[in-house]
């Protein structure tokens, strides 16, 4: 993101507390990941050292430093989901999407993206939807009670199995 747009986002914050994290989150909402250029511009606009912006961006699991696919599938690995078989859900997803288990991206995170750049698989710990475990979130939408049988149906809503448009 260029300086102008970083400034536009930064202007929304009138207090210092929570500003850096807030700005990074807002940028990620628009661009889906934080590029090197973005981090440099954030450091510049907010007048904080680049090292700090970088350490913050890598410390918090919410930030992606590499581009992600069109749809982000996040499997909840929270305790309630774990006891209901979250690991198996992750495995089924990897099988269906053909991404290798344990595959990590350049920023050292487990976030494999399919070759057609349609899906990125990631994990999180609890969306607070623990009464309908196991839970999977796709682009911010929560799906409860998922299992090996209904996952393919859910994925189809996002164009899984279709030929790539381009």
């Amino acid at each position: 993101m260029d300086r102008k747009n970083v400034s536009r986002i930064a202007r929304k914050y009138n207090v210092y507390s929570g500003k850096l994290l807030g700005v990074l989150e807002d940028i990620q909402k628009e661009e889906r990941y934080l590029s090197e250029e973005t981090l440099k511009n954030v450091a510049d606009v907010l007048d904080v050292p680049l090292t700090r912006v970088y350490s913050v961006a890598t410390f918090y699991s919410f930030f992606n430093l590499v581009p992600v696919g069109k749809h982000i599938i996040t499997v909840c690995m929270g305790t309630a989901c774990h006891v209901k078989g979250a690991y198996r859900i992750l495995e089924v997803l990897q099988d269906l999407l053909g991404v290798r288990p344990g595959e990590t991206t350049k920023d050292g995170k487990f976030m494999p993206t399919t070759h057609d750049k349609k899906f990125t698989v990631s994990t999180a710990r609890c969306f607070g939807a623990c009464s309908m475990t196991p839970v999977v979130m796709i682009d911010g939408k929560i799906y409860g009670y998922v299992n090996a049988k209904n996952i393919p149906l859910i994925l189809k809503e996002y164009g899984w199995g279709e030929k790539n448009e381009n």
């Binding site: 207090v15 210092y16 507390s17 929570g18 500003k19 850096l20 994290l21 807030g22 990074l24 989150e25 907010l46 904080v48 700090r52 350490s55 913050v56 410390f59 918090y60 699991s61 919410f62 930030f63 909840c76 690995m77 929270g78 305790t79 309630a80 989901c81 774990h82 006891v83 209901k84 198996r88 495995e91 099988d95 999180a124 710990r125 609890c126 969306f127 607070g128 939807a129 623990c130 009464s131 309908m132 475990t133 911010g140 299992n147 090996a148 049988k149």
Partner: protein
Amino acid sequence: MICNADEGDPGAYMNRNEMESDPHMVIEGMIIGAYAIGANEGYIYIRAEYPLAIERLDRAISDARAYGLLGNNILGTDFSFDIHIARGAGAFVCGEETALIASMEGNTGRPRKRPPFPSQKGLWGKPTNINNVETWCNVASIIKNGADWFTRIGTEKSKGTKVFSLVGKVKRTGLVEVPLGTPVKTIVYDIGGGATDNKKVKAVQTGGPSGGCIPDSLFDTQVDYEHLADAGSIMGSGGIVVMDEDTCMVDTAKYFLEFAVEESCGKCTPCREGTYQMHRILEKITEGKGTNEDIVLLEKLANIIKLTALCRLGQTAPNPVLTTLRYFKDEYLAHVEDKRCPARVCRSLINYYIDPAACRGCTICSRNCPVEAIDGKPGYIHIIDQNKCIKCGTCMEVCNFSAIVKLSGESIDTPFAPIPINKGR
């Protein structure tokens, strides 16, 4: 003044509910609190995983400002107070108060030594009061109904009610509010309806990754601060995860240690290195490679980390191991001595077989097996090649005749090659 809405305990979602269904309750509590201590600035630190709660709080804060309940000279008095939202970004340790403050100041969320406590030296070095969402929610009704009203409920030492999130392998999952001191069994059986699928409840985990497991033999334990501590667990934020006979307690301990390893901020050695080593030992045990010495070492490490870690994350991380060792030693021993996982969870210690008497030769399992480990053809009894099987359980999920059995430490007689199903059977 800060409202801690980081709700990092996975499996607990009381705060999410409070903020989404009645954000004004939080705000009202904070205004009263600010008035009492003379604070002019308030923050709600809320985790990014709760977008709806953020949206509703944001809206409620704007509404409160419009009504003159927040801002300068509230209701014409000389009291001024405003609330801002700060968002977390997916780090459990940021629920710890000093880490939370560091995070709000735009740093990595790493805890620091206390004292000085935040009430002495907090956000930007100023005295800061920090409390949980539920605490703030209680304020307005206590002020309205009086302290006697609140303290009449509960026990001698733990007053009032508490909201718990009852989740996991229980029939009725959800949020429950009960007087403190209610026995575990009332919550699990009377309110939760017991385990699903006619299984037997084995234990509950309270207090999340910092808490511990309480076995069903201790379900008379009253849920309050003292009695949970006596049982080796904690109240924490109020998560209650129910586990049944299909939950392996060693695997559960491993799960929590993995959580600690991932969420450790890395500042101090006991937590950063110690939890990693504990996790490695647990991994070894669940793979059937553990020894009795490993169990001794595990316990020793746990006690050392408890004493030496800098913040409560590290100090409490061994709790799930210590409580499972205390109450479920037999499961550890089964893994170590018999190379058996009694709950049939740990993959290295289980095998899938096809029951020749139940197989109908429909081929669905062999068609779905991702590694082609199943031999068979229509009308023939199918057989799983144990050397090829990766124990993913796909066959069990797809079989319509419940012909797949999962065993640990035992086996059943199966034919060596597919044979025709005896039609007269």
